[in-house]
């Protein structure tokens, strides 16, 4: 994980965009919480630079 994070840093992608979680099969509520937390984090970071460079000019925005 750390290695891939360093690879992403090399190409100018915030390593915060990649995360690893540990949880067990019984942790349904934790899963939901985790998804929300991570989505919020990404929302704060904004679109990825690759998305901005490739998808955004084409106005390929869903919805």
């Amino acid at each position: 994980m750390e290695h891939v994070k360093s690879l992403l840093t090399k190409v100018g992608i915030d390593p915060e965009r990649l995360e690893m979680f540990n949880l067990s099969a019984a942790m349904g509520p934790r899963w939901a919480e985790m998804c929300n937390e991570f989505t919020e984090k990404i929302r704060r970071l904004g679109p990825s630079p690759i998305w901005m460079a490739t998808c955004s000019p084409k106005k390929n925005i869903k919805e």
């Binding site: 690879l7 630079p49 690759i50």
Partner: protein, 223 residues
């Protein structure tokens, strides 16, 4: 095996940024073992370069491929026609591979993506160490199987020198003093008397490149 490490990403990017169609060409033998230039590393490097190109808005087509070996033409000959359609081959093979491919490919540049280092052993997975320098004139029978040419910082033939420091080399505490290792080994082999003999200057002419040789038997068969 040959070891190497990938060049810094910026250096690689500066090599490829002015080309339009680039092939990251991996070699699945030695450099794959040291996680520097196998098919997998070539694929990762190609992916990173594509992302960088997208960010910079550079229209470069970057693909990846790999063959088993770059040091023998028969391995890359079958794909030669395909790779000739690129304007740059970014080779993740060792320097030998880059040279040989350059000679065979015609007018397409072949650039190196890794720094080739030494031929080494793999004492533990992911660790590489230089044990032989390929000097062309082996003296391992005189030194208990431990090579002072490769493993002593000064390549001393008669040692240790004054820089030996509790079994380590003065250059770095991470380097074991080769001559202390030789002493310990000779003691075990009960051959300490060999240590007293002065090893005469070596014939270094055999250590200089360019070197090549032909196998006599095979030559005779060809005739």
């Amino acid at each position: 095996m040959i070891t190497g490490e990938q060049k810094p990403f910026e250096e690689i990017w500066n090599m490829v940024k002015d080309f339009k169609k680039v092939l990251v060409f991996g070699c699945n033998t030695c450099v794959a073992i040291c996680h520097a230039g196998g098919g997998k590393e070539a694929e990762i490097l190609a992916s990173l370069l594509r992302m960088r190109a997208a960010e910079e808005g550079a229209a470069i087509e970057i693909n990846h491929a790999a063959v088993e070996r770059h040091c023998e033409p028969e391995f890359f000959q079958p794909v030669m026609e395909n790779i000739r359609t690129y304007d740059l081959i970014l080779s993740t093979a060792c320097g030998v591979g880059v040279n040989l491919l350059s000679e065979n490919i015609g007018d397409i540049p072949v650039f190196p993506a890794i720094n080739t280092e030494f031929f080494g052993a793999v004492p533990r997975a992911g660790e590489f160490t230089e044990l032989c320098a390929g000097c062309g004139n082996c003296i391992l029978h005189l030194t208990g199987g431990i090579c002072p040419i490769a493993r002593c910082s000064k390549s001393l033939l008669n040692g240790p020198c004054g820089g030996t420091n509790n079994g380590n080399c003065e250059v770095s505490p991470d380097i074991k003093c080769a001559w202390v290792l030789i002493y310990d080994r000779m003691k075990k082999l009960n051959k300490l008397d060999l240590m007293k003999e002065i090893n005469e200057a070596k014939d270094w002419s055999k250590a200089q490149g360019p070197r090549n040789f032909k196998v006599k038997v095979l030559e005779e068969i060809k005739k």
